[in-house]
Every structure is written in structure tokens, then in C-alpha cells.
């Protein structure tokens, strides 16, 4: 008999180190960093390679005020001055994980800020669907072990989640000896590489069913599927160029499945009122579940969107697109969007710690973010911070919201974490 000994996270990582990659919502934790020069990481996908390459290009630990190098304390002071003077600050970008978001919410309470994430245009379509009718969904391990039909709507999956098929679809082992899933792509956006659809070819060479259509026509396509599900007559022979027979065949495949999974990516629904499309998809899932098992799987957009939304929700009661007045939050999914608030705020705090996404705003701007950020418009204050999962530890929600992964520190350097910076700014505002 023995006590379980848990490894304590060390500040000095020794190679090789197995770790979790925050570059997409799959949060694969089987990556192994074996050397840093040259950078060598096992199990890295295209997305993680570019993420880690960018991280190891890190060229600046130096904060800047109006483009000029500054010491850390002066930069913190300058950021605090901007927020103190602001009447309606916007905290946007919010590319961070749980610990960073906790600090952001505390600062928002102190400065009466409005909060929105850089990918919320897509997240909000899912959030509004949950708020209107809810949904029936599943998670990655269930997909890996149960899915025998996968319907991908408006997404090739791999352009946003590269290892999806490798890890969850063409896996060698599954718990219940299920057959290889049948893959159907519906209305994948044309701007994505056609090569990406090859990920849907099974190891035995079976090609996926590809039903081409304009992604922007998904509202009527999903409506037609729902009408067929309701045994309603459809007044046309085809919908958005898809024959009714083809639609009926999708439905028959879903109905015959032991466990069908319907996947969508709201970030590819680049048209107004996309939440109605998401809701139509979830209606279809709910209806199918009256008799058989079908589950949805929304793909996230990235940059910690799932972490930020969850953390905001338990701390304030609301997901992002919220505004604080002292400890009280209010919420408006339509008006507290970055698009609207960038024109209304008198100061912007932009956070992007995973990527070098930069903001565009006329108001005085503080950027706390990735050390490699380059700017078209020089911000009033730039404070480079560590990259979660590279420079410091963290906690991150996976795309399916049901698993929080620990992020490890892979190297030592001088970069502070976002939460350290934000706490120091907050301390100056007391």
C-alpha cells in the first residue's frame, strides 16, 4: 500500500517534457518538447508548430510606452493612469486562460469595464442558443468511443482543430468495437483548403460524403432537414442546390446511427443572426433524440474563448459581453460586443497572450500580450507577458467545456504572467 505521490510543478522544466498544447480547443496533452534549439516537439500539428515557433521567436521582454522602451513599473503606472482616467473602458481580446481571466474580472470590477472576447462573434451564436432553447451535446472521449456517424456542418473540422480525425475518428482502439464512423461534410466554406477534406478519408480509403453548398445558405438547408424530420412537404426540388433526396439521405443516416455526432463551427457561419442556424441544428438533434442517440459538438474558435466564458460566468453570473458596476454585472449579448463598444469606449485594454492578434481602436489603448506583437497603431502602453503553457502554468477549458487541462511551464524567462501584471495595475487603482 502506498500514498499517491503527485508531481509538484517545477519552475525549472527539464527536457523532454510532456505537456498540453493551448493552440486549439482540443488541448492535446501528448506533446513532448525534446529540444529548444532547434525547436523539436513530438506530436505537434500544423497549428501547434506555428504557435510554438512564434513563442520561441520571442524577441522582447520590454514594456513600451507610446512605442518607447520603458521599465515594468512605469508601464504598469501608465496603464493604471489610463484606466483611472477612463469613464467607460473596454477589456477586449481576452486571449487568456482561467487564472488570467480571474484577474481580468477583478480589474473590471474596479474600473467598471465592459468585457468581450476577440472571438465572441462566433461564441455568442452558441451562447444565445443555450439561452434560448439549450442543446444536447457530447464531448471528445464520447466521440472517440461511440460515434459511428459524423456530420460536419459548415466546417472541415481540421482547419481549426487539426488532429481531430487522427485522435478521435480514425483511432485504432475504442471501447465498444464500433465501426469506423461514416463522415458527411455539409456546406463546408469554399475558402478552406479542399485538401482538408482528405482528413475524412478512412484509413481503409473510404471517402467521405461531401455535400457542397454555400455556407451562407445553411439557415434554409437546416430548416429543410428539420421539416423533413417533421415529415413536412418541401415546396422545392432542391434547397440551396442540394436535392431533397440528398437531404433525406443525411437524415436517414443520422436516424440509423447508434450514436451520431453533429459538429458545427459557429466561427464559419459568417452571416448575421447565425444563432438561428445553430438553434436549428440543436432542434434537429433534440428531435432525433426522441428515438435514437445523436449529440452535438460545437467547435470553439480559440484564444481561450471557452475558458474566458466559463470563468466569467461563475465569477459574475454572466458569460462575456458583460459590464461591471462595482461588484454588479450586467449583460447584453448584442450591445456589449467589441464591434459596438470599440466606438464607444474611452480606453481599451487589449489582451492577447496566445497569439499576436492586435487591436484597432481610436481610444487610448493598453495592450498586454504576446511578446512578439507588432502594431500598425502604436498603443499607449504595451506590456509583454508570458504565454500560458509556455512561460507559465495555467488552467484551460477544452472546447467541450467539460475538461479543464493543466498547462505547464516549458521554459524560464523574465516575462510576468497576465495575472501578475493585472494584479499590479489593480493595486494602483485602490
Amino acid at each position: 500500500m502506498a500514498e499517491l505521490h503527485l508531481m509538484k510543478s517545477s519552475n525549472k522544466p527539464t527536457l523532454p517534457i510532456t505537456h498540453c498544447c493551448p493552440a486549439c480547443g482540443l488541448l492535446c496533452d501528448d506533446l513532448v518538447l525534446t529540444s529548444t534549439s532547434p525547436l523539436n516537439i513530438k506530436n505537434a500539428c500544423t497549428k501547434s508548430i506555428s504557435f510554438y515557433n512564434s513563442a520561441w521567436l520571442t524577441n522582447s521582454n520590454t514594456p513600451r510606452i507610446a512605442g518607447k522602451a520603458s521599465d515594468f513599473n512605469t508601464a504598469i503606472q501608465a496603464a493604471a493612469d489610463i484606466l483611472r482616467a477612463s469613464n467607460q473602458p473596454l477589456f477586449a481580446g481576452l486571449g487568456t486562460e482561467v487564472q488570467g481571466m480571474r484577474a481580468i474580472v477583478a480589474l473590471a470590477k474596479k474600473t467598471h469595464a465592459t468585457l468581450d472576447h476577440m472571438h465572441s462573434e462566433s461564441t455568442v451564436a452558441n451562447t444565445l442558443t443555450i439561452q434560448h432553447s439549450g442543446w444536447q451535446t457530447t464531448t471528445l472521449t464520447e466521440v472517440k468511443n461511440r460515434a459511428d456517424v459524423i456530420l460536419a456542418i459548415g466546417t472541415d473540422i481540421v482547419s481549426s482543430h487539426p488532429r481531430f480525425f487522427e485522435k478521435l475518428v480514425w483511432n485504432e482502439h475504442s471501447l465498444f468495437d464500433k465501426p469506423r464512423p461514416e463522415i458527411i461534410y455539409l456546406a463546408v466554406p469554399k475558402h478552406l483548403s479542399a485538401d482538408n477534406l482528405k482528413a475524412g478519408i478512412s484509413p481503409a480509403g473510404k471517402a467521405p460524403t461531401v455535400i457542397a453548398a454555400d455556407t451562407a445558405k445553411l439557415p434554409e438547408i437546416i430548416s429543410a432537414l428539420n421539416a423533413l424530420m417533421n415529415n413536412k412537404k418541401i415546396t422545392e426540388n432542391q434547397v440551396a442546390g442540394i436535392t431533397i433526396e440528398a437531404l433525406q439521405s443525411i437524415l436517414d443516416t443520422l436516424k440509423a446511427a447508434q450514436y451520431a455526432v453533429i459538429i458545427w463551427s459557429a466561427s464559419n457561419f459568417q452571416y448575421a443572426h447565425a444563432e438561428l442556424t445553430v438553434q436549428s441544428i440543436t432542434h434537429l438533434i433534440a428531435k432525433l433524440n426522441e428515438n435514437t442517440r445523436v449529440a452535438g459538438l460545437p467547435l470553439n474558435a480559440g484564444d481561450g474563448d471557452t475558458s474566458v466564458n466559463n470563468t466569467s460566468t461563475w465569477l459574475s453570473g454572466y458569460p462575456t459581453r458583460s459590464r461591471f458596476f462595482a461588484d454588479q454585472a450586467s449583460y447584453d449579448a448584442h450591445h456589449f460586443s467589441s464591434n459596438q463598444q470599440l466606438n464607444k469606449c474611452d480606453a481599451l485594454l487589449w489582451v492577447s497572450s496566445f497569439n499576436t492578434q492586435q487591436p484597432t481602436c481610436d481610444a487610448p489603448t493598453i495592450v498586454i500580450g504576446h511578446p512578439n506583437m507588432q502594431f500598425d497603431i502604436v498603443p499607449a502602453v504595451f506590456i509583454p507577458v508570458g504565454i500560458p503553457g509556455v512561460d507559465h502554468t495555467g488552467s484551460m477549458f477544452r472546447m467541450d467545456s467539460s475538461v479543464v487541462m493543466p498547462l505547464k511551464q516549458l521554459r524560464e524567462n523574465q516575462l510576468p504572467s497576465l495575472s501578475e501584471v493585472v494584479l499590479q495595475i489593480e493595486a494602483l487603482l485602490t
Partner: protein
């Protein structure tokens, strides 16, 4: 007694929530008390008279002058009295209106008549998206009352609308009557795409042929005597709908996508097309 009048004194940098400036809240308050009330502007609570000059004493009759799109929640939760907005309004005009009238002479932003329960809202100009919709999380939008729009309305008119009447003399945007539960919407101008999307019940009265989804059933042309009654009931309203008097309509039913039984009634002149 003179109408209680709020005249906006300056160009506002931030939107303000005007829901405290209603007959309900201001009844029995003196002009100086009203002037010293605090409202939130940005992160600061400032006195009403820093933003508005205040005059008059009849809180049942409130006028806003020199207004702008920065004034949100005008007439929110009112349960009596009259409000005149001599200019533009922001978002959520007449939010949760329970009784009384609101007349906006200019244009409004989104979510006018959100959660409205009763009373009358008239908008002389254009209005934004989600006219007569529901606030965050609610499964039912406008639940009663009448909204008259002289200009155009944005997308999602009557989203989740539960009861009441919306009459639009201009055009309506996309997804008109989306997820509508009951009530009546009329549009004299054009409507955008996806009209009646996931409509459950209710009536959408149109004067111009819409492009409808394949999940809406065309039930042909009908003579519906109840229409006379309906148009007659508009007689007391200041709207062009009051001058219509047909009983012949082309009728569409849907949305089949949600097993819906909403009806879209198309009246002349496009009837024969």
C-alpha cells in the same frame, strides 16, 4: 401643469440608461428633486441636471428634447402616462412598457418594445433590429400592446413575439417574424430574407411578395372575412393600415421546420403576381 421636460444639454460620449426618468419613478417629485437624481454616465453617477435641463412639473406627461441615440431605455417599465421624444432614441425604447404611450419623433436603435406588455409605442422614423423582441434569456418577446412604425424596421421584427400588434409602414429587414409565437405583424414595404423563420404561430400581414423558404407552404388564395374586422380595428390608429379593406389574401403557413402553424397573409397589389 406643464409637461415635465428634459432637454439634452450636450453631446453625450456614452449611452445613458434613462429608465429612471419615467412617470412611475418621477411622480410626486419636485423639479429640483428630479434635477438632483443620480444617473450612471460611464462609471460615474452624475446628477440629471448635468445632462439635461429640467423644466415642467407634470410627470404624467414627459417630453425629451434635443435627444440622441445615446439615450437608452426611454420609457422603460412605464405603467401610465405619456412620453414624447422629440428626436432620436437609443436602444430599448419602451422596454417592458406596461401601459401608457410613447411617441418617438425620430429614429431608434435596436430592441424597441422589448418585453413590452401593453400600451402604445409610435416611432415616426426608422427602428433597429429586434423590434418587439425579448431581453437576454427570455423565451417570450413582446406580450401585448401596439407598435406603429412609420419608417423602416431592422432585422428580426417580432422575434419570439407572444401577443400584440406591430404595424410597419416601411420595409422590414431579414428574419421578420422569426420564432414568432403569436400576435400580429404587418409590413407595407418589402421584407428581407428568411421571413417567418421558425415561426410557430401568429400572423404576418404583407403587402409585397416575400421570398420564402421552401419550408413555408403556399395554401393558395382565400377570402378571409375576419380581415375586415381586423382592418376596422386599426381605424383608431394613426397608420396607413387603417385604410386597407381587402378580404382576399394569398396564404402561406409555416414554418414546417418547427412544425409551426404561423400564417403569412399577402394582400394586394401583388396578389395576382
Amino acid at each position: 401643469m406643464a409637461a415635465l421636460t428634459f432637454t439634452l444639454k450636450k453631446t453625450l460620449q456614452f449611452s445613458i440608461d434613462c429608465s429612471a426618468l419615467t412617470p412611475n419613478y418621477l411622480a410626486n417629485k419636485s423639479t429640483s428633486e428630479i434635477a438632483s437624481l443620480l444617473i450612471l454616465y460611464g462609471k460615474n453617477q452624475i446628477r440629471v441636471d448635468e445632462i439635461f435641463s429640467v423644466s415642467g412639473d407634470d410627470a404624467q406627461n414627459i417630453h425629451f428634447k434635443n435627444t440622441s441615440h445615446q439615450l437608452d431605455y426611454l420609457g422603460a417599465n412605464m405603467s401610465s402616462g405619456h412620453m414624447h421624444i422629440e428626436g432620436d432614441a437609443g436602444a430599448y425604447l419602451g422596454f417592458g412598457l406596461k401601459q401608457g404611450t410613447i411617441h418617438c419623433h425620430g429614429n431608434t436603435l435596436a430592441f424597441a418594445a422589448c418585453n413590452m406588455q401593453n400600451g402604445l409605442i409610435r416611432i415616426d422614423g426608422n427602428t433597429g433590429d429586434f423590434l418587439g423582441g425579448a431581453s437576454a434569456g427570455l423565451r417570450k418577446g413582446m406580450g401585448g400592446g401596439t407598435v406603429l412604425v412609420k419608417g423602416n424596421a431592422g432585422d428580426r421584427v417580432g422575434d419570439q413575439m407572444r401577443r400584440g400588434l406591430i404595424l410597419i409602414e416601411g420595409n422590414a429587414g431579414d428574419y421578420c417574424a422569426s420564432r414568432m409565437i403569436a400576435g400580429t405583424i404587418g409590413v407595407l414595404g418589402k421584407v428581407g430574407s428568411y421571413t417567418g423563420f421558425n415561426m410557430q404561430r401568429g400572423t404576418l400581414l404583407l403587402a409585397k411578395t416575400p421570398r420564402l423558404n421552401a419550408t413555408m407552404q403556399n395554401c393558395g388564395t382565400h377570402t378571409l372575412p375576419f380581415l375586415s374586422l381586423m382592418f376596422k380595428s386599426f381605424a383608431t390608429l394613426d397608420t396607413q393600415f387603417a385604410s386597407i379593406s381587402t378580404q382576399r389574401v394569398q396564404r402561406f403557413v409555416g414554418d414546417g421546420a418547427c412544425n409551426g402553424n404561423g400564417e403569412i397573409l399577402l394582400i394586394s397589389p401583388d396578389l395576382m403576381h
